[in-house]
Amino acid sequence: MTRLLAALLLVGVLASPAAAAPLGAGPEDVANRMSGEIMSPFCPGVTLHECPSQEATDLRDRIEGWAAAGWSEERIMNELVAQYGDGIRAVPPSDGGGIVAWLLPGVVAVGGALFAGTLARRWTRQRERDRAGEDLEARRSITPEQRRRLAGELAALEARSAGQGRRL
């Protein structure tokens, strides 16, 4: 299950637009990338990248300036956290309590799939048991003569169905 979870997360990360964006190293690329990874202090609920306010543009320019001055992305992020608090990170931390945030959706998805799979298997087996019971009941309740007639009619029906299928 751990492998499956890891695979799911990997696919998610690979599929995300952030992962898809070319990892340019220029100051503008760094600013573009990081503005999608931090929440805007000026437009609650959206990242800096999506915030249309002038203050957001100014902060983006400051990030570009820091990148141009040779700051690493980690240093820029630390500076932003120092100025605006932990809430500026657009994702929960990947350690401590934050790991629950990351893992729970995967656990629910995999748990749900396993539960549904178990139910489906049980229902399929139940159907097989029902069918076996029905067959036994049917064999007990009809005479050999009736069974021969039934087999004949079934064969004729199948032949007709096959003919119709070809026409379809």
Partner: protein
């Protein structure tokens, strides 16, 4: 002339009549008496008329600039265009709640009038539930969110509507979302009434099928239009930001989509009875929960104009709905037990089950990401954030699996299918998927996620087209008609099945548009007149600066030419405007759109010397999102055009459709 003075008395009358309607309906339900039931329905209808009058009163006050009302002052002004004056009805919390209640009472009136007359008890309980919900909203409107609160001093002008909301999209997007949310009240109420009356066959599902489809269609189109509004108005080059308000509409959409698929199993195989009730309960709960999240102020978002003091009113209502609904389902478990049997694991039934698991997992992922900051703050005291990188990481794998299943589902037969036949069916779609992957890789797509999305889109499209070809071939031979006519006959003879496939095709096109975002390019430059910048294959040149003025705003327009290979192919006119009443700058985006890519230009600042900060994007395939929505709308109209159940009584056997094309 303002009818604002009629608003509050109308709400009081509506509240009294609705309460009376609930009590009479309850009397009718408990005593199974048609007299009180009919009287209750009439009282609810009269209540609806007074709610409508209150709505008319607020609209007339807005158009008459009756600034004695606080709401009119807060969300409109004399300079506001007439179309946007109407949008002010849902531009603020109080007005949008009144609009919600108008729709709720209107839909309740129609649904109760059309409910089968024979089943007094079911009709009466449905009226009790719908009337109870209306009473709650009327209580909110009378106390914490009164849109008719008057001001002691009447100002000469109002504050105007938020400039972001002054967009044509805002005239349609919120009403459609509300229509979707509110219309789910009808299947929810019928479901609860079915539980209360123990009429738990497929009757209530069939009775509310069109309402469910209508609600889902309105919500779907409303969500897409919200994306279109964000794309054309907000100026960040995207259409979906996983903002809590967006999530609030997306969560019930996910559970409702699971419900629409799951009811097919109950109707065809009489299975999933409990599950369907849980799904409709969850859908309606999430619709109200989303309203609570976004309007209580518990979460902050870009839509802060909707915050208000109503959270504590919603909490007990939500608790009653969830606990009461689940307790009712629990109490009826014996009656609800269906003989769940799968003939084979490789069957359409299994595909529907997998579909439900994925939709529910997706709904949980969105819900979890939306409420995690609240939980984290409650536990640790530190405010954390959950933004797009989290949602993309957890949602996209589930979304891709759903697209794959959308293609697989129609290829798998009901009851059972042998693996040999299955592999024969998926052979051509698989080849199409592989071909699309290779083509996309050769075209320069480097993202693994985007390649997978293109592969699944091709797989699913070919699977759906193959279904149409198989169906149409039969019509061609039997009726001796051409392909177009045969396809039309296929669609119209089995609207539920093929209309659903058209909706699926629309979803695939939307996903194609999403996948295109992997190739998005953006650049920012500060340009003076005559200067150029490069973005993707385009050279943008600042041609001209144009100033203008209207009663509402001062306009600064930058005319930009876009050249490709030295030839001018587009002229774009983005604006940076100052809205006078709000003293707020607002960018008007310019987009040159096409099936291959959009060139998207926004002016983020204009200096006094006329030089401007330009933010430009090249967004590949975004056009397909809107095209996909149009295809979805076509499929929805086919589904909705299917005749409703002819049976006069809820619970009576439905008429049998004999499909012209044999279902595998």
């Amino acid at each position: 002339m303002s009818l604002g003075g009629l608003g509050r008395p109308s709400l009081i009358a509506a509240s009294a009549l609705t309460t009376a309607g609930v009590l009479l309906s309850l009397w009718g339900a408990l005593g199974r008496r048609s007299g009180p039931t009919e009287a209750g329905r009439r009282a609810l209808t009269a209540g609806a008329a007074f709610v409508g009058l209150a709505g008319v009163a607020l609209v007339s006050a807005l158009f008459a600039h009756d600034f004695s009302l606080e709401y009119v002052t807060s969300y409109s002004s004399r300079a506001l265009a007439r179309g946007y004056t109407l949008a002010a009805l849902w531009g603020g919390m109080e007005g949008s709640l009144l609009f919600w209640t108008v729709l709720l009472t209107l839909f309740s009136m129609i649904a109760l009038r059309r409910a089968p007359a024979g089943d007094t008890s079911l009709r009466a309980w449905t009226a009790v539930v719908l009337g109870g919900i209306a009473s709650f909203f009327l209580l909110i409107l009378l106390f914490p969110a009164n849109p008719f609160t008057t001001l002691a001093e009447v100002p000469a002008d109002g504050n105007g509507l938020n400039p972001l909301l002054q967009s044509p999209g805002m005239l349609i997007h919120p009403p459609l979302l509300y229509t979707g949310f509110v219309a789910f009240s009808i299947p929810f109420a019928f479901g609860m009434a079915a539980l209360l009356t123990k009429r738990l066959d497929e009757g209530w599902l069939k009775q509310t099928r069109r309402w469910s489809l209508f609600a889902w269609s309105a919500l779907s189109i409303g969500i897409v239009l919200g994306g279109a509004w964000a794309y054309t108005e907000l100026g960040w080059g995207g259409y979906w930001a996983w903002d809590p308000v967006e999530n609030a509409s997306f969560m019930p959409w996910l559970t409702a989509t699971a419900y629409l698929h799951s009811v097919v199993i109950q109707e065809k195989r009489r299975m999933f009875k409990v599950w369907n009730l849980v799904l409709i309960l969850l859908t309606y709960f999430l619709a109200i929960f989303g309203t609570f999240l976004t309007r209580s102020g518990i979460l902050s978002s870009i839509h802060t104009f909707t915050e208000g003091p109503i959270g504590k009113w919603f909490l007990p209502f939500l608790a009653l709905m969830l606990v009461g609904g689940l307790a009712l389902i629990g109490a009826r478990l014996d009656t609800l037990k269906s003989k769940n049997r799968f003939d084979s694991l490789l069957s359409r039934e299994s595909a529907f089950l997998a579909n439900n698991v994925l939709f529910l997992a997706a709904a949980f992922a969105v819900l979890w990401g939306t409420i995690y900051p609240i939980i984290a703050e409650a536990v640790t005291g530190v405010r954390l954030s959950v933004g797009p990188p989290f949602f993309n990481a957890v949602f996209i794998p589930i979304g891709l699996a759903l697209i794959g299943l959308t293609g697989l589902g129609p290829l798998i037969a009901w009851r059972r299918m042998n693996t040999k036949a299955f592999f024969r069916m998926i052979r051509i779609p698989l080849v199409a998927g592989a071909a699309a992957t290779i083509a996309a890789a050769l075209a320069g797509v480097g993202s693994a996620g985007a390649l997978l999305a293109f592969a699944l889109c091709a797989f699913t499209t070919v699977a759906i087209v193959a279904e149409f070809v198989r169906g149409s071939r039969v019509h061609r031979r039997r009726a001796r008609v051409g392909w177009p006519s045969a396809v039309a006959r296929t669609l119209m003879r089995d609207r539920r099945r093929y209309g659903g496939y058209v909706v699926h095709l629309g979803v695939v096109l939307i996903v194609l548009g999403f996948a295109g975002s992997a190739g998005k390019v953006e650049r920012s430059e500060h340009l003076a007149q005559g200067e150029t910048m490069q973005i993707g294959r385009y050279t943008l040149r600042y041609e001209e600066f144009v100033r203008g003025e209207t009663p509402e705003k001062q306009i600064s327009q930058i005319n930009i030419s876009a050249a490709r290979n030295g030839e001018v192919v587009e002229t774009l006119e983005p604006q940076r405007n100052l809205h006078k009443v709000q003293r707020q700058f607002q960018s008007e985006v310019a987009i040159a759109t096409g099936p291959v890519e959009d060139l998207y230009v926004v002016v983020t600042a204009v200096d006094p010397d006329g030089s401007a900060s330009i933010h430009a994007f090249v967004n590949p395939l975004t056009w397909w999102i809107w095209a996909g929505a149009a295809v979805m709308a076509l499929g929805m109209s086919v589904l909705l055009s299917e005749a409703g159940p002819r049976t006069a009584t809820v619970g009576a056997p439905a008429r049998v459709h004999r499909p012209l094309v044999a279902t595998r």
